[in-house]
Point group: C2
Chain length 400, copies 2
Amino acid sequence: MSIEFQFDAQAGTARAGRLLTPHGEVETPVFMPVGTAATVKSVPQDVLEELGVQILLGNTYHLYLRPGVETVRTLGGLHRFMAWPRAILTDSGGFQVFSLNELRKVTEEGVTFRSHLDGSSHFFTPESAMAAQIGLGADIIMAFDECTEYPADRSRTQASMEMTLRWAERSKKYFEEHKREVPWNQYPVPSTQRQEKGAVAGNWVLGTGCSTQSLFGIVQGGMDLALRKESAERTVGIGFPGYAIGGLSVGEPRERTREVVEATLQYLPSDKPRYLMGVGTPEEIVEYASLGIDMMDCVLPTRAARHGLLFTSEGKISIKQARYTEEEGPLDPNCGCRVCRRYSRAYLRHLYASNEVLAQVLNTLHNLSFYLDTMRRVRHSIRLGEESRFLSGLWSQPKP
Amino acid sequence: MSIEFQFDAQAGTARAGRLLTPHGEVETPVFMPVGTAATVKSVPQDVLEELGVQILLGNTYHLYLRPGVETVRTLGGLHRFMAWPRAILTDSGGFQVFSLNELRKVTEEGVTFRSHLDGSSHFFTPESAMAAQIGLGADIIMAFDECTEYPADRSRTQASMEMTLRWAERSKKYFEEHKREVPWNQYPVPSTQRQEKGAVAGNWVLGTGCSTQSLFGIVQGGMDLALRKESAERTVGIGFPGYAIGGLSVGEPRERTREVVEATLQYLPSDKPRYLMGVGTPEEIVEYASLGIDMMDCVLPTRAARHGLLFTSEGKISIKQARYTEEEGPLDPNCGCRVCRRYSRAYLRHLYASNEVLAQVLNTLHNLSFYLDTMRRVRHSIRLGEESRFLSGLWSQPKP
């Protein structure tokens, strides 16, 4: 058992299905909240469960630096470390290192970078990135890639894409040789996973050693549609149980993103999960799901929440504005989340204006709830065959 | 209906009972978490309810500055503003202003002080402090007092005490003339309060105008036992439905605090609630409850949590220490709170070391849970008549 993907409904290019992982089922299309340092900032894990989160994203770069892969491995892997029994995906660290700009140096062998925490020097290769991700033990891990900068000319984009392909081969080779070392096979896994059998240890069941992680490939190729096609075909040629579209949301116009996504998707096998990395706004995640994307992740709902930017069925709200000082109504009258059920806009505005931590807690909870509800409605619409309607109906434009 | 106090069990000097307020019942002895700016920092109100919090403390000084009394009054008072249907007590602002040190000036009329937020100048009198607390609309409000500094000589202590007594008279006079202006009487109050009858408005019931706040007097007198006796007797002479012991925890040795508390308690009527302001550690709250104190409040559990200091049945833990990096066990094996049920010390240590907001959320939740459990056990012990045992048994000293 690693993963299994089934879709059972289609509406146009969109599809709804489920991804079976060693840590439970994930309904797709899915939006994955980002839990950078083994926490979705400010939200306890039981609240994530209540929100219906079925899969989280962890950042290998951050976890590698702190608390360190060996610590997480020693404690049984990321699921056990952060007390999260459901599915996890880790990125490869490539994009995070890419974001460091002046702190990194890329060669064929790998990437030298300096820690943003203490300036210490580190070296990631496809092999070490796989080793780190195996040690962390997410259900889905990502090949080590180079995220091509934007803008980049054709020859630069092609050279970068070629290196990502060579790194994909190296990632796969290392993974295949070491995938049995995942910490679940040495340590207990949650008893909620019915596919595992073994002796009960507290709430956890000892692994039988028969489940492994899944390694996804990443398509690059910048904004060049021919290179995207080539990257997709050659990545599929290497062979992975799922494919991601990387190198987008790096500064290009949104229309360009959509164009590249559409162009790339047609070269990805429809029977494998398709993951668009690092998107997007609520409108965008609906749009990409309608194109046939199965998985997405983005820091937007959680990061925007920390800045008081809240997504509602009536458009975006900046809760810091003085106009909300005495507004008794809920943040979003159409939202059933804990925050909208209990608190007024006036109270949320007060918390934000007073720099209270509860502002971040409640704002994050609402934004995540909004994103998850949006995807729930997307899946429902696909099952109803409403492809043409859900795009226009699910997300109202902000009122003027 | 304002408040009603009944105690139904005694063990030595300790007593267990209940305080009936316009916003529900409070089991005593009670520890009141501090919700300075209409939030117990980082903890959502539903979690406070789950923890069994029956009464919260709000700080008039902070709420007066932000969001302002008029905003809170306009929104129906503090209960409605912060979506907290249970009881609330506000302090008078006197102690907060006292803490400002160089930013304040005291005269017979009142206190001039500068805001810690923007340096603006403000003036509190007994009358304006009552007006503010009536506007905020807590169930229990406090007379405006001067917290005598420590150390202070006898004549200074006496003069300060005399002024507090004059201010107590002025507080009571203003309160009696204005107590019908509490916002519950103009605005809906929670439907969970069975003592209120009226038309249902959402989850709230329109007030019938028959319930009011209760004003407690505050005993001062510094560390001088004779002055404490005089202050207690003359405050009781003025007449309040409850009495607080103020002016302690201002730097004096702990033995002195206990001595003053014991000396003061004997001059306070046993049929009225007795509130010791601003204490204490878990050992101390058990000790003061055993002396016959009914109510306590302190920022310690919440503030210590933010600094990674956690109270457990095995003593205090500083979770930032590297020794916890790979500790798989729960924070407190004898605690049944959400944090101890789910997370390891290693994970809590990681969150703290990574400056994650979830560290504050979980640490605060545990410490509050520990305090509330401690008081629950105190009440249970009193009911069992175990006065002599609970002091020694409820709180184990930290292991060496």
